[in-house]
């Protein structure tokens, strides 16, 4: 009797555990249908990185749309650090929302765009997107999402007062830039602040953009992605690595670059501990504490990046988030209406009013470009390159590549070994995608 009772209780216990862990899709579905029937309009689900979805222009465009249409956007922010992995898991298990927002890079390939997302290549609003942003929107030549994001132009900040004091002017060639760095070292000023400890702020993708721009660049990317060539076959990449090595050896990054972190950028620039830094133009508006330091944001200008790959220097175009529509969802028409609403110049101008950004759309006027952008606009128009390396080279890793460059700068490996490491990591990802 006791034995039977024990077995019975064990069974109940196990069953309770399993039921507790069971799929609750049914109850969610019924909640959703209740929600829809309770309201007057349709509820669209939107997944995305929680931080991205909390941006003021995102919440504003959603509020505007809800007020005008009577529909509702059910915003489901995913944990910032793991958003992409969580979203991918959801997509894999068939949990695909009506709308999905993603930073258009080569990882978007993982979401099987052709099968899952609406193709906007022929949409009217495509002609309204700025040329520097357009390549960011494309996956295999097709446009699957509306770029709706704050856009920044990346280059090299320089302290105009330090430059004036030293009689320096904005360089126009790599040689001039290198000479400026040497001159600053001579007078005891650290030329460039490089937060190399965090690896990603090495930002070597800036140097890649001019290599991979235009038709020839596109061809190179295709060859890299089909594994028919490697980085070693592109001489400019070796030039870039040689430049980093030289810069480290000559003290252009100071003495403690291997332990310098992004946390100190405000202090270092604000107190004039370094004269330059690779960064994006809106940084002074979003991150810099303007009241705490000797130098104010007006004291800085933006000039091209010189990293050994192009003699004239380069600016990097924006990296933007894309709003995509699940083409197999139940509410495709409503989701497309939402995209049309977002792409309307009147609506996006309202959403981006006063936001520090360069324009993503040609008719965007209410944003406030940074002081640095305004001062360097002519140069940016001349030397700007769209961000293509990071979004389009499969396996490109800002952090892992940065780590290889760390080792190069600290003298642990040679330029050729570094080149090999950059390739190894990229090819490992590429191969894993092809298996």
């Amino acid at each position: 009797m006791k034995k039977k009772l024990a077995l019975f209780l064990t069974g109940i216990f196990a069953a309770t555990l399993l039921i507790g862990c069971g799929n609750s899709t049914e109850s969610n579905d019924s909640n959703e249908s209740n929600e829809e029937s309770a309201g007057s309009g349709v509820t669209l689900t939107l997944y995305g990185n929680a931080d991205d979805l909390a941006k003021p222009y995102m919440t504003k465009i959603i509020d505007l749309y809800e007020a005008e249409s009577g529909n509702k956007i059910d915003v489901q922010g995913l944990d910032t650090n793991n958003a992409e992995t969580i979203a991918l898991t959801k997509f894999t298990t068939g949990d695909i929302p009506d709308l999905y927002i993603h930073f258009g890079n080569s990882n978007l390939l993982n979401f099987n765009c052709e099968e899952n997302f609406y193709d906007f290549t022929e949409a009217e609003w495509v002609s309204d997107i700025n040329e520097t942003v357009l390549p960011q929107t494309k996956v295999n030549g097709k446009i699957y999402g509306l770029p709706f994001w704050e856009a920044s132009i990346s280059g090299c900040f320089y302290n105009t007062k330090i430059f004036e004091d030293q009689g320096l002017s904005v360089p126009t060639t790599q040689e001039e830039f290198d000479a400026i760095c040497d001159k600053l070292v001579e007078v005891g000023i650290q030329p460039i602040y490089l937060a190399a400890s965090d690896a990603w702020p090495i930002l070597y993708q800036y140097a890649f953009d001019p290599i991979f721009s235009g038709d020839d660049g596109t061809k190179l990317i295709e060859q890299l992605n089909s594994n028919t060539i490697t980085y070693s076959d592109i001489p400019q990449i070796k030039d870039m690595l040689n430049w980093f090595k030289k810069a480290a050896e000559r003290g252009w990054f100071g003495e403690s670059y291997m332990t310098d972190t992004w946390d100190y950028t405000s202090e270092v620039l604000g107190e004039g501990k370094a004269a330059m830094m690779f960064c994006w133009d809106t940084w002074f508006d979003t991150d810099f504490d303007n009241d705490s330091y000797t130098y104010k944001k007006d004291d800085f200008g933006l000039m091209p990046v010189f990293m050994g790959t192009i003699d004239d220097g380069t600016f990097e175009g924006p990296n933007v988030n894309l709003m995509m529509v699940n083409k197999n969802g139940e509410n495709v028409e409503t989701a497309l209406e939402f995209i049309k609403f977002m792409a309307d110049p009147y609506n996006y101008n309202k959403a981006f009013e006063g936001i520090a950004t360069t324009p993503v759309f040609k008719q965007q006027t209410t944003n406030t470009p940074s002081i640095q952008y305004n001062k360097a606009k002519d140069l940016i128009d001349k030397l700007g390159n769209a961000s293509v390396a990071q979004p389009q080279i499969i396996g490109f890793s800002q952090t892992e590549g940065g780590k290889a460059i760390q080792e190069l700068m600290s003298g642990n490996i040679t330029v050729d070994e570094c080149l090999k490491r950059l390739d190894e990591d990229r090819i490992a990802t590429l191969e894993s995608f092809k298996k």
Binding site: A14, N107, M258
Partner: protein
Amino acid sequence: MNRKKIYPLYMIVASVAVFIIFFIIPSTIGYIYAFTNWSAARTNSLKFVGLDNLVEVLKNRKVPIAFVNTLIYAGIKTIVVTILGFVFAYILNRNIRSRTALRTVYFIPAIFSALVVGLIFTAVFQTRHGTINNILNALGIDSIQWLGSRWSAIFAICFAEIWRNIGYAIIITLAGMQSVSTDYFEAAKIDGASEWKLFKNITLPLIMPTVNVNILFSLIYGLKMFDLIYVMTSGGPGNSTESFGTLIMNEMSAGRYSMSVAVNLVFTILLVAISGLYQKFSERWEHIE
């Protein structure tokens, strides 16, 4: 409860069932992915690729670095935590006035999360404005880039890990010491035994099972070290402070899921082997007469 009574096997059915359902089955299923082509690009229609991923793991340049570093982290942590834990426990077991307060103080680091400890020690070892460098500068000594080269970064990580874990070691060892009957000591003292002999012939043998638990825990958690490394160096500079934990994470982040599982499988085998070996040898020490 009758300690001598042998209870029937079915009494363990519930716990074994839970263990199998929630640990054995998920782990086994998880490791199956090490033999597939699972990646961020291929989450559907997976196919078996045999031992390809394990071969790739063995070819991976970062695996030997992670292997050596993992052993270094675990070795240093186990040795230092065990010895210091023992010494502090011995002191705190004596009749000193502030021992209750000291026990609490020593245990406080153990309640902090690894993330918090990592951030604290990153600030301590930071080159710019780091606590240690501030002291060195005040003494007229140049700053040291603690986290800027392999060995100094490993030292900093181990220091933080030891600081965080020593409280546990003290508490466990102290509990062991307090469970030793005072009768033994009184009898030995009557026979004229010195302090050293009391320690060597009574304290040490009787608390060896407790010390073994300490060593085993330190070893296993040392081998599994991840969070502190991730916060303090992210495996850098370069890959010089990577452990198996950070390597698994990096492979996963790069979308090479099956490779990540394969590294994890290799790591688990290593973990089980080292723990098993230790337990085998430690049985002898527990039976010191």
